[in-house]
Amino acid sequence: MSASAGVRPAGTVRIGVYLCECGPNIAGRIDLDAVRDALLAEGGRYRGAELVVKRYGFLCSGPGKQFLTDEIRDNGLTHLVVGACSPRDHDSTFMGVCAGTDLNPYLYRIVNIREHCAWVIDDPSGATGQAVSYLLGGISRVLRQSPLHERPLEVNPDVLVIGGGAAGMETSLALAGNGRRVVLVERGPAPGGCMGSSSAAAEAVRRHPDIRILRESEVSKVIGFLGNFEVEVTRRDGPAETVAAGAIVLAIGSRTFEPTDDPDVSYGPDDDVVPLEAMERLLAGGGEPLLRDGSPPRSVALVHCVGRGELGYCSGSCCARALALAARLRAVRPDMEVVSVHRDLCLPGRGGTGILDRADASGVGRIRALRAVQSGNELAVEAMDGTPSKRRFDLVIPVPGTVPADDTGRLAAMLRIPLDEQGFFREMHRMVDPSGTATDGVFLAGTAHGPKDLRTALRFAGSCAGQILTRLVPGERLVPEVKVSEILEAYCTGCGNCREVCVYGAIHADPDRGISVVNEAVCRGCGNCYGSCPSGALRTRHFTNEQLLREVDEALRRRVPVLPEPPVAEVHP
């Protein structure tokens, strides 16, 4: 077995170890002078390397950063270790300091002796001992780190929008122009979606010089990353085309739940039951509601929450649409009884109140029921206090919830985005990044993200546009992740484990050489592949097993006394 270079570094290596007092936080509990002496005593371990160990008040302060800069220059440091706080606080600060000198920021390491030692170990000697062990671990790890260099990339500001519905059009209009082109891929004959192809938005999209519409087309293949996607679009009436784009917006909308799939709803073709959307289109076209036998209905019931039990969620927008339709029905036929059958009424915000008031004003009746079972035109209703009643309505309109579009699974696999429990695309973070996805550069607009009302759908479209306008600026350059995985061609046999587990599609096969290859611009250094590789052929830079294991070996070498278990009460439940 060969000696690894790490054990005996070649050439003069000078490691600077700087211990931050952090006011009382560290110096108050850890004896930094004892730490310095212990480290210098152990210095001999790193053959051929000199150790400089100093303490300072506040390394993160302005003067502190200047002190570090001078130390790096004056001592000609080749490696830097900072014993201070959590990397989440000041890792970037100290990397910034290194960037200001000619020491590569990746030949530096922060060792958390505050949250991991000072704040959690009461007995000072125990905390000091632990700090020494962690710092020794940090030194042995930094010795095995290699310099990494950021390579900024030219950005393609253009955007590909999939889906020409309300959200897709809104996004396209918000993004097109000012040096940015949009390609709108629409599966149907023309953009418009629920707003209709003759709507103002559809007209604006058609006329916009920077929006190119690909009708009756579908996305079939996507490779690339934020700033540099290549999307293959197959067209029904033309050859497949490869579109270059810097970002992709998924605005494929959604479908409504099939009413008869709800066990409480059953009707046949000869019942007078009309789906909500059909009735909306009929009225929008100026038509009148008529029964199958042509006669005008005397009583209409809109049954809310169809499918909510099966879906497990309230779609939040169907109550408003139902009551708006009910009000229009009353306006068209003031003599017709229109009743809305619901349990809860989900009408959030001022808009919701407006719709409710207009419905009440136009005389829409409301029956609140624990449960409503529809068979044909007859409704068996269980009131809130449990009393059952049955009634027949000339016309029944089931109001179903929203379900994912049928193309969701295919596109999700293609774009490497997981689905959530309800089958919609899973957003990056439900609260602080709802329109982003796990694949950086792919955004969710409208009901592709989940059920919502039209205005929120348009706001989601605006949010995608906002993310793209502020992150994908023409002429600016993007700096991709540097701590990426690399595959050593000599060792790889191309088995593909890494390709299977890569969630960003950053690894592809090279059949001629029989190996897998990492696209370093797409890789985000998550390390999934590193864990999956059965051979030693793949490693993630800056987090190689060698570095991690040597850090642990070194930290445990002095066998720190096992810490006493904290009393149960203190443990944060």
Binding site: A3, E489, A490, I515
Partner: protein, 358 residues
């Protein structure tokens, strides 16, 4: 040469010596073969406490792995180490030190006049205890035990030249020779009568003669002369497992050139070969591997015999490499592992070289 007389047999004497060194803190750890009676097998052990020595069998006539290979990595640590090495293991370690794979700095080497080791198969069938007894009996008689590895029976370097401590057995126990200042310093204060003797030359001459004859006979039987046909006869049975390079103490590469992607065939190349020749042997490159390994390391081959022992196809690899390597080294009058200062021939350029080839 300053020596210590011991009434014990050589193995027990060395065990006592190791126990003393550990007890006195003269060394941090010792490396020695060990018997595992509960499993009926044995292994090479690194022991850091005297208590672990009860099952140690320093002169066990078995080589589960060449200690020179196992030692190389350990010798780079900061700890002081005492290693019991058979002469070929010491020479193998010396060859590795020449290639930056080990260091003598903190090492005390204990070696002995080696009677040879039995093949692994015999350990399986007879068990380590009977083999140890057979070897001890032969050592007393100053002969090579029957049934040892064919390369051991043919080995002429059975007396270590550069060990710190050399143990030679006799009828009435054994002698512990302190060959270097390091040995003197390490064993300063170790009990036992001190005399000035050297290993018994006469016995050595007798064994040397027997082994030279065995070696000549071994090499004569090898079908190496008949070009490709000879090679097919010799390496035909090879299944390409590269076990021989794996257990060889000299082969230290993490990825052998003959396992790398560079020499791997692919369908287009096989198809072209198919057109030229009637048939194609698969997996390809088995014989190429042996010839390549031979060029890379055979001049450093110390003839320990691990490769033949490990070969699942029973190919006499050790004999072939020993013969070819020996003749190559002789061109440069080089003996692998004889002396740590002697550079490896391929790494040195000398004006007057190989004049008798051209």
């Amino acid at each position: 040469m300053n020596s210590i007389v011991s009434r014990l047999d050589a193995s027990a004497a060395v065990r006592e010596l190791l126990g003393w060194l550990l007890g006195e803190g003269r060394t941090d750890a010792v490396l020695t073969p060990r018997r595992l009676p509960e499993d009926g097998s044995c292994d090479l052990a690194l022991l850091t406490a005297p208590e672990g020595l009860d099952r140690a069998e320093p002169l066990l006539p078995v080589m589960t792995t060449n200690a020179g290979q196992a030692l190389s990595h350990l010798s780079l640590s900061g700890r002081r180490l005492t290693a019991v090495l058979k002469p070929c293991e010491l020479r193998a370690f010396t060859e590795r030190v020449k290639r930056e794979q080990g260091s003598f700095e903190r090492l005390l080497t204990v070696s002995f006049v080696c009677g040879g080791v039995f093949p692994l198969g015999r350990v399986l069938s007879d068990g380590p205890d009977t083999l140890a007894a057979a070897a001890l009996e032969a050592a007393r008689r100053g002969e090579t035990p029957a049934g040892v590895r064919e390369t051991c029976a043919a080995c002429e370097h059975f007396v270590p030249t550069n060990a710190d401590v050399l143990v030679s057995s006799g009828e009435d126990g054994c002698r512990i020779h302190l060959c270097t200042p390091r040995a003197e310093e390490a064993l300063e204060g170790f009990g036992g009568e001190r005399v000035d003797t050297a290993p018994d030359p006469a016995g050595i001459e007798r064994v040397l003669a027997a082994r030279s004859a065995a070696r000549a006979e071994l090499y004569r039987a090898l079908p190496v002369e008949g070009g490709l046909d000879g090679l097919i006869d010799l390496f035909g049975r090879c299944v390409g497992c590269h076990g021989c390079s794996r257990v060889c103490p000299i082969c230290y590469c993490l990825l052998c050139d003959f396992e790398s992607a560079g020499l791997e065939g692919d369908l287009p190349r096989f198809r072209a070969a198919l057109d030229e020749r009637g048939g194609l042997r698969l997996p390809s490159g088995t014989i190429l591997f042996h010839l390549g390994r031979m060029t890379h390391m055979s001049f450093s081959c110390v003839g320990c015999g691990m490769c033949s022992d490990a070969c699942p196809a029973g190919i006499p690899v050790a004999a072939v490499f020993g013969r070819t390597g020996g003749r190559t080294a002789a061109l440069f009058d080089y003996v692998p592992g004889r002396d740590a200062e002697e550079p490896v021939p391929v790494t040195v350029f000398r004006e007057e070289e190989l004049d008798d080839i051209g």
